[in-house]
């Protein structure tokens, strides 16, 4: 294992985090620390109605008595929740109304990140190429949402959560917290109290959303957390595909990202939700810094024949604690989870999914590909359960782990509960080490060691990559390569 044994030293040369820059932009903050006053400050900043403030305050009260979960296979020092800013926003008098009013500095930052915010630039692309509407969230606020008019013409609401609370209170009150209850877990509860911004999507009955929707999350401020909240509702027979991307500067301190995403899918509707998570992973050698990505994502297939599909490419973050789940309530509803989780350096990931089969003839599918390199730890944790009424429930799970080097770890923790006799669950799992034989074979054909690893890894994750919208898949493939740069000597 001569080639692979050099892994640890080589990982030290991993300087490939391309989004690690800090933007010097004027920002305003909430006073440091967390209290009922912080919650009031955030709510007031956003000009929220009283019902929203009361909802937040109740969440805060509940959070005070909850304990941080410790069952995940991740290790980190205690978090001082008082030593962080819970609100950071670029200084502007009012929230921007149109692209022309957005601070050019901010537009420049997004251009640097490769996110098109100018509609004409998006339109200037190749004819027939899919278009993306983007909601750009910078620290605690949404700075701009594109293509809103065009979407509104077909009845699709796509806006920041703050705007939704003001403009569409009936929808927000009906659905917010209905999938992930306020006190669902420690981090979700914290989010409920202090969430700042995020995206809101409503697709009316029978509407197929005419373009991809996406949100781009950027953490910029130091010593701040990001607590975004996303709510997507696909009404009867509606369809939408939604993407989210995330990056953050390289900083020596750990920053908390505790998001909540709720998806509501009614009869015959479908949501495809894709994530490419590339938060700063921390220093590869010392493990210093990086984002704590503690996220609660859940989809509720409330209607019959509802369908949801989670696809995630997790390459960043110092620690990932994330289990995008599907509650399959409606009869014959379908949940899918496709995941690529890559850890390198000192990263730790504990990620997976929950498929809760409540309705008859519900089906689910889990394809998880974990890749560990460097001195990282990568755990798949999943639950598949069928309740007594879920007659004929079906699940297929495949969990594959690939190890690169000998100082990393891969763990698979599947929980399976079938509480009726007609449920049919299948679970397949493999763990393989990137073999010296394969590497040599590919190199003998002319590929460098780095290229050989990329080829083999891309082959390993192909099943999941092909679930992503095409442009995203290309990006994700590059990201996979970058995250594993220097992983083999």
């Amino acid at each position: 294992m001569a080639a692979v044994s050099k892994t640890v030293e080589q990982v030290g040369e991993l300087e490939s985090y391309k989004h690690g820059f800090v933007s010097d932009i004027e920002q305003e903050f909430a006073p440091k620390g967390l209290s009922a006053d912080t919650v009031r400050f955030i709510s007031a900043k956003k000009g929220e109605p009283d019902w929203m403030l009361q909802w937040r305050l109740e969440a805060y009260e509940r959070w005070l008595v909850l304990e941080q979960p410790d069952w995940a296979r991740v290790e980190f020092p205690p978090i001082d929740y008082q030593n962080s800013y819970y609100y950071a926003a670029p200084s502007t008098k009012e929230g921007p109304k149109s692209l022309d009013e957005v601070d050019p500095e901010l537009l420049a930052i997004y251009a640097k990140l490769g996110i098109p915010l100018k509609e004409q630039e998006v339109l200037a692309g190749v004819e027939g190429a899919p278009r993306y509407a983007v909601d750009a969230v910078f620290d605690s606020v949404s700075v701009v949402t594109t293509f809103k008019k065009e979407l509104a013409a077909v009845g699709v609401i796509f806006c920041s959560m703050s705007e939704a609370i003001r403009e569409h209170p009936e929808l927000v009150r009906k659905y917010l917290g209905s999938v992930v209850p306020v006190s669902d877990n420690f981090f979700a509860c914290l989010n409920s109290a202090v969430f700042s911004d995020g995206s809101f999507v409503y697709i009316p009955p029978g509407v197929r959303c005419p373009m991809e929707l996406s949100t781009y999350f950027r953490i910029n401020a130091a010593e701040s957390g990001q607590f975004e909240r996303t709510l997507i509702i696909a009404d009867k027979g509606a369809y939408c595909s939604y993407l989210e991307g995330c990056t953050a500067p390289m900083r020596d301190e750990n920053q908390l990202h505790a998001a909540v995403v709720e998806l509501v899918i009614l009869d015959d509707a479908e949501i495809k939700y894709s994530t490419v998570q590339n938060w700063y992973p921390g220093d590869p050698v010392t493990g210093k810094g990086g984002i704590y990505n503690f996220v609660t994502k859940r989809a509720d297939c409330r209607g019959d024949r509802a369908k949801v599909s989670w696809t995630q490419v997790e390459t960043g973050s110092a620690i990932t604690w994330k289990y995008p789940s599907c509650v399959l309530r409606g009869e014959s509803s379908v949940g899918e989870f496709y995941s690529i989780a890559i850890t390198n350096g000192r990263q730790q990931a504990d990620t997976g999914t929950k498929m809760i089969h409540l309705g008859a003839n519900t089906r689910s599918r889990i394809i998880s590909k974990g890749i560990s390199a460097g001195r990282s730890s990568n755990t798949y944790r999943g639950l598949v359960s069928a309740h007594p009424k879920a007659k004929g429930a079906r699940n297929f799970t495949q969990c594959d782990s690939l190890l690169i080097g000998k100082d990393c770890g891969a763990h698979t923790v599947p929980y399976i509960e079938a509480r009726n006799g007609s449920a049919k669950f299948e679970h397949e799992a493999t763990t393989t080490r990137l073999s010296e034989d394969q590497l040599f074979y590919v190199m003998q054909r002319g590929l460098s060691q780095e290229e050989a690893v990329q080829l083999l890894v891309n082959g390993f994750v192909k099943e999941v990559l092909q679930e992503l919208p095409m442009e995203f898949a290309v990006e994700a493939q590059k990201l996979v390569a970058i995250s594993l740069e220097g992983s083999v000597g």
């Binding site: 034989d437 040599f440 003998q444 390993f460 994750v461 192909k462």
Partner: protein
Amino acid sequence: MLSIKNLHASVGGTEILKGLTLDVPAGEVHAIMGPNGAGKSTLSYVLTGREGYEVTKGSATLDGEDLLALAANERAARGVFLSFQYPLEIPGVPALTFIRTALNAQRKARGEPEVAAPAFLKLAREKAAALKIDFDMLKRALNVGFSGGEKKRMEILQMAMLEPRFLILDETDSGLDIDALKIVSEGVNALRSPERGMLVITHYQRLLDHIRPDRVHVLSAGRIVASGGPELALELEREGYDKYARAA
């Protein structure tokens, strides 16, 4: 072409090649025969730059260039090709993609432009047909679920597509039935040319009925202990390796 002088090589501290000397001029096919454990596969790995095979003494050059100083992929770009005794499975990577990626990597290393897709596909179709490989098979992940014979044919297809200057065939006949052996041999013979050299490593004479060597060498205990014309292979077939094992 290939010139090996007094080559010593160890694996995990054990010396396997103990002063091997061999010259294969351009245009010639040389066979290496020998008993199990003689160092045949080690020789192929040392020449192609596999890690863990440590050269302690001697030299190996291709047209005067020191091969041993180059990484495995650099040797490949110089035109050294090894047909593996046990070709590896590459899950998720279609054979066609694999070959094209390899060809472009080699071309890039040589400062040549990437091959155009239509030309590549046309060539792949022709070569696959000659080797009786169903073109649809090239869309499947390389070697995954392929039979032993299919894997060997796929090695020859890669060889035909990459057009190497120096070919090393490691036990290419193992696991082949007589029909597959014929197809594979025809594929190899089609690559014989005045500019190319070939080293055919085998246990058995039967491969050499199809791929006629110019010279036959007996490898025993890490050294070439006898060399001769094609008749030497026939003698080995009749009498076995015993006397050479003793000679070593």
